[in-house]
Subunit: 338 residues, 2 copies
DNA sequence: GTGAAAGCGCTAACAT
DNA sequence: ATGTTAGCGCTTTCAC
């Protein structure tokens, strides 16, 4: 494995100069820099991250803790993070908490704390008090994307307000019989977001003087298939049906649309559906939604962390409210009985 | 940041003993080992990966190069890899080639070669000759999962045979008018897989004496929405329609089912559909498919690499053929005109 | 069973 | 603009 000495020898300079030249530091003549760079390339030299990490105290890697990587929101955030990291020549260490048999404690104890990273991004999940303390005790810059956690700055939409807006859209169309498709994800990694969205839903109903119905508070576990099943079960029931459904996310909303089709109902004719996210598939299903931009949230989070590390302009101590806006498609309309 | 010296001092032993004790090496009395372990925990000590990496030459991290993380196959493989790595106390460095604006050369040059990892897993993608050479020149154990690449061992199903089997299932049911939903993914990261699946499709037709029709070779770009659009376009055409569709993957098969519904056609009554993968959503859509198990493929790949590193029993030089088996659901049936 | 000491390959402070 | 040198915090001989 060729090391810095090899490059120095071939170039006829000291290793210090090689180090400076290759990292683009000042005080190296452009002429020698070019020569060194050329030799390094020829030799296939790349600095050892262990060695430079040890010497400089910077690993040039960022940790990303995700509750799962199989949901659109998370993968999209991760892609955004990835793009920012790549620009800054940093690597990403991915800690996936949802892997089946995922020994969560191990993630928090061994790896993350193994000083492998310079900073940490956590995608919306709940920490135990102990976990939070462990994370904060590392002293690395850290930020959450998605769900808010007390004591940690975060980037995310105003969950409650956005859910309320979505529900208000249905009410504005004339709906009063509205079901809520909520529920926690399977791993229970994220309780705050579903809770706040449910509260926002109830806020909207309350403000419009509509009673919520317990039997219309469904659990779709943030999953398309679970939501499809839950809504199918709802539509199987005898008696009154809702004319609209507010789903906590678009995957669930799509599940609701499919369930309506399973029952031979038309959307929005017989049932209106609104979601949150603007998932890749939503346009294809004509799903009306409160759109957010997780890619940019991830990108921004990573860039803030990077700037925290270098004293760049984005560095900050406070949280950031991400935008969400209504996109009207064909899944919502006034109820027929109007 | 507490270091090994702190633990040594508190425990009244040398740093060498601390190192041995904490790593579970022999020649430490159980008594002192317990004491050291306790002190380390109390101090919150965790070894610096840079320092141990530098000293031992092992980073305890594995690189994963993925064409994208937004498709089910990739995320599922990654989850499998993750579970194996976690068991072995290794971390995962994720290199996502598909990130918008993803500067591919940078991934190959800077990061991967930055000696941050002990081994490398690549998920099905095409390498340029230069890239392949760069990767192999690192000398790390390496394996591909998914598409085969000349000169690199891999784990994967027999693409061509599996596609042929899927098509033969349709033919066995009596179909002769079969469309193929193929096409490369958007980034063109993976040409071999779609090509081999198309060949397998043609193999089956040829063996049954069925002429393939150019106008029924569609591109769904490995995407649900693109496939839905492509099949909708097909169904819009005047003239003869296929009675069945073989889709290169389940996401595409689901797109085909949705397109059938868009046209008021019933599946399998008017159109049979078969896919490959056994995607999470496939059961919900009743999609018949050639099931494979990417989670286990990822797990196995990681474990092989780990054993390559340690001389474990799974270490090997040759490729592994992964299994695929037909799962019949409700999307396939004999054509009506029979 | 334990300790002393020599690196691992860099970076950074100080010289020149 | 370039070179010298002292670490960074571990692992790994080699002694004892």
């Amino acid at each position: 494995m060729t090391s810095i000495d090899d490059v120095a020898r071939v170039s006829g300079v000291s290793i210090a100069t090689v180090s400076r030249a290759l990292r683009g530091l000042p005080n190296v003549s452009e002429e020698t820099r070019a020569r060194i760079r050329r030799h390094a390339d020829e030799l296939g030299y790349v600095a050892s991250s262990s060695a430079s990490g040890l010497a400089s105290g910077r690993t040039h890697a960022m940790g990303v803790v995700a509750p799962s990587i199989s949901r659109w929101f998370y993968t999209t955030v991760i892609e955004g993070i990835d793009s920012a990291l790549r620009e800054a020549n940093h690597d990403m260490i991915l800690y996936n908490l949802a892997s089946r048999g995922g020994d969560r404690a191990r993630v928090f104890h061994r790896s993350i704390l193994r000083k492998r990273t310079d900073a940490l991004i956590a995608l919306c999940l709940d920490f135990t008090a102990d976990e939070r303390e462990q994370l904060l005790s590392i002293g690395h810059p850290m930020i959450m994307i998605g769900g808010p956690v007390r004591g940690i700055r975060h980037i995310g939409i105003d969950e409650r307000a956005v859910a309320r807006e979505a529900t208000e859209h249905l009410i504005r169309l004339g709906h009063r019989d509205i079901a809520h498709l909520g529920g926690e994800d399977d791993e229970g990694l994220n309780r705050v977001v579903p809770r706040d969205r449910r509260l926002g839903f109830l806020d909207a109903l309350g403000a419009a003087g509509i009673e919520s119905r317990t039997e219309w508070m469904l659990s779709g576990r943030f999953s398309l298939t679970a939501s499809r099943d839950a809504v199918n079960e709802l539509l199987d029931r005898p008696g009154a049906r809702p004319t609209a459904i507010f789903a906590n996310c678009d995957e669930m909303g799509i599940g609701a649309i499919l369930a309506a089709h399973d029952h031979g109902l038309s959307v929005p004719g017989d049932l209106s559906v609104i979601g949150i996210d603007n998932h890749d598939l939503s346009a294809s299903f004509g799903l009306t939604t409160m759109a957010q931009d997780p890619y940019e949230q991830g990108r921004l989070g990573a860039r803030i962390l990077l700037d925290d590390l270098t004293g760049g302009p984005l560095s900050r101590k406070t949280s950031i409210r991400a935008e969400a806006r209504l996109i009207e498609r064909s899944s919502t309309a006034p109820p027929i009985h109007l």
